[in-house]
Symmetry: C2
Subunit: 105 residues, 2 copies
């Protein structure tokens, strides 16, 4: 079981879409932020401020990245990048566990 | 925003009831475990190994503690204790954010 060590974790959850998407914010030792989240089945759209790296830890979903015309299918694990100031769509078919990183500029 | 510092966080989520209840495991600096979780509307029953302290951070629910005949109503924040080797029931009406502590014996 992989884990983050020497980090800070915010106690309160981030809650989106009436709880269908939730996450916890973790601040790493180097000051970078990650969120550990769960998406339940449904269709969602999220916007980015800075660039994001989405690591799917487990799940069954498809993703439409900004500027793309075809959806990326994911069963199991995958990682995709989302540029800053963009939006991406997700269609979640089964409970999806993720880790989103927000690398510093 | 309160937070835990100098902790370890397991990357993968704990997933129950097909994702309606999920949590992340955090190991505190003193070695004690807490889980930060979300419960979506529904009816659930959980069993304990050791004693647990459930802190409801936000939510709308009722709880039936072991040995009790009447449900405890919670809107907003509350803390309740569950003894070891017991089970308790929850009826969640709105997305509920919680922090569960597992104090060492």
């Amino acid at each position: 079981m992989s884990q983050f060590n020497q980090v800070s974790v915010q106690k309160e959850a981030n809650i989106y879409y009436d709880g269908q998407v939730t996450s916890r914010t973790v601040i790493l030792e180097n000051g970078e932020k990650v969120t550990l989240g769960i998406m339940l089945p449904g269709s969602y759209e999220f916007g980015t401020d800075g660039p994001e790296i989405m690591e799917i830890l487990s799940g069954d979903l498809k993703v439409l990245l900004p500027g793309e015309e075809s959806w990326m299918e994911i069963q199991g694990q995958a990682t995709f990048h989302v540029p800053a100031k963009a939006s991406f769509k997700l269609e979640i078919r089964k409970v999806t566990d993720y880790c989103c990183s927000y690398p510093s500029a």
